[in-house]
Amino acid sequence: MSKAHRETIFVEQADIIEHIAYEGGQYVMRVNAPEIAQHAKAGQFAHISCDPMLAMRRPISIMRVSHQHGWVDFLYKAIGRGTKLLATRKAGEQISIMGPIGNPFKIDPDRPRALLIGGGVGMPPMVFLAETLKASSGNKPLAILGSEVPFPFTRRPSTIMVPGMPDGVIAGMPLLEDWNIPCRLASLQGYAGCFEGYVTDLARHWLKALSEEQRNEVIIYSCGPHPMLEAVAKLASEYNLPCQVSLEEFMACAVGGCAGCVVEVKTEHGPVMKRVCVDGPVFNAEQVF
């Protein structure tokens, strides 16, 4: 009897090490959770008790982990009751965190040109994936991040050339640049150095500038609001590129027990309902769009 799934999720009483507020109700929280830090992979999330007065936890994507120091970083936006309460928790307080949960992104060695497209609070899994990809040589990833509120970091002019980028589109995310991963930003808000338009339009500029051979090496990973993912999926199918998307849904158990978090997935046997928590959150785009 296979019990491979057993004991893969840890419940940790985590100290909040740092909790920084950014414009637009965005927060970056660093907690000490060594088991989760040790086991988490890009694309996975944690289920967080925001406040003891709430009956349910909130699923939040993991942005970064440190194996060495045992910390885990989250970026979230305070929008609902849970995340608004979470935002009031201060460094030094403890919160209960369950994780890591879900299937991570699958990395394809035959497709070294990973295009990472993240929108809003969909950026964290892209940051995690970028950090993972940086570790192995031969990868030539590009991250395109979009936001309609000020980015939760100080934008910096990129020092890495990216073919096909329109003039003036030079702003990037310092963290990624420090890892030597090129990054470009998109927004409709007219932020300096950012592409004024959708992430998918900027991605199209890049894809067009690649040779046929180079395009065959591209794989798209994406996380963000539903309409954005839909556009990303469309772009991928236009160029016939493999595409993995990370989905969100309300969750109760986050361990596969309640079937509360499902998404309709196309299969050869017709539609089936898959649980975003443990069958996802990463799905092949063509199965869900």
Binding site: E249, F250, A252, C253, A254, G257, G260
Partner: protein, 314 residues
Amino acid sequence: MNDTDKVMLATDFCGMAFQSPIVLLSGCVGFGEEYTRVKGFSNRDVGAVCLKGTTLESRLGNKPHRIYETPMGMLNAIGLQNPGGEYVVNDILPKLDFEETRFIANLAGSTIEDYVALARIFNDSPIDAMEINISCPNVKQGGMAFGNNPEMSARVVAACRAVTDKPIITKLSPNQTDIAENAYRCIEAGTDGFAVINTLMGMAIDIENRSPIIGNNQGGLSGPAIKPIALLKVHQVYQVCREHAIPIIGQGGISTAEDAIEFLIAGASAIGIGTALFYDPLVSSKINAGIIDYLKRNDMTNVAELTGSLRLNG
């Protein structure tokens, strides 16, 4: 937990040896293995695990959103997503470890024939007991048409009774006028035990688009918000059960040992945990410890001594 502690928690339920009065509730723990993903969780901490509501044919379930948090509780309208009775018996039960705990099937149907067919399927399986779910509020024919009518409830129970000797636990709906009358009729029809209560019906509305948040428009309310209602229903059903020695799994909003003890005092022999697991997957061992502590403080030797020990005000 040492051996005396184990003896304190061990209890009989419909002839089944429960190692703890805790039952993990249907719909909250999938088909028995899902929570074992969590380190520190063990099916050995509980007396029984109720599997997800199972119908004769497989069901896709409802459209999203299926769940939504509400004050001290949550709404759900899963719509009985399940792979069908035959699949559960042939593909899922063989993978369960019956050494760890007792497993109870949860049967749902839209006709009496459905329930009977399911009872036959599970009768020829290693399942320990069958819970007859005549109280699912989330599918049109989810059994609540039976559950809210004592006559119909009794007919479902009697029909299942005729085809199985395994323990039958009838899961009663709180969405009905006279739950005690219903319980009485089900006892006459041959039920061995009760589960009290299933979820209450509720709604939540997104005020921006003026639509219900739950895909199914309405859903079942569970969690601490329903606890006082559930407790009173257990008390009422216990008045009927007491003289027939029919045990009750009390449930609805239990999240601490104190909650569990309240239900036991009100008349439950076992207590169910559903929604509380979502917040704390390791809650069972805490509740076990809290019950043991309470029994010791009150010079009691076994959890069964608590059942129905309520002292009503004069």
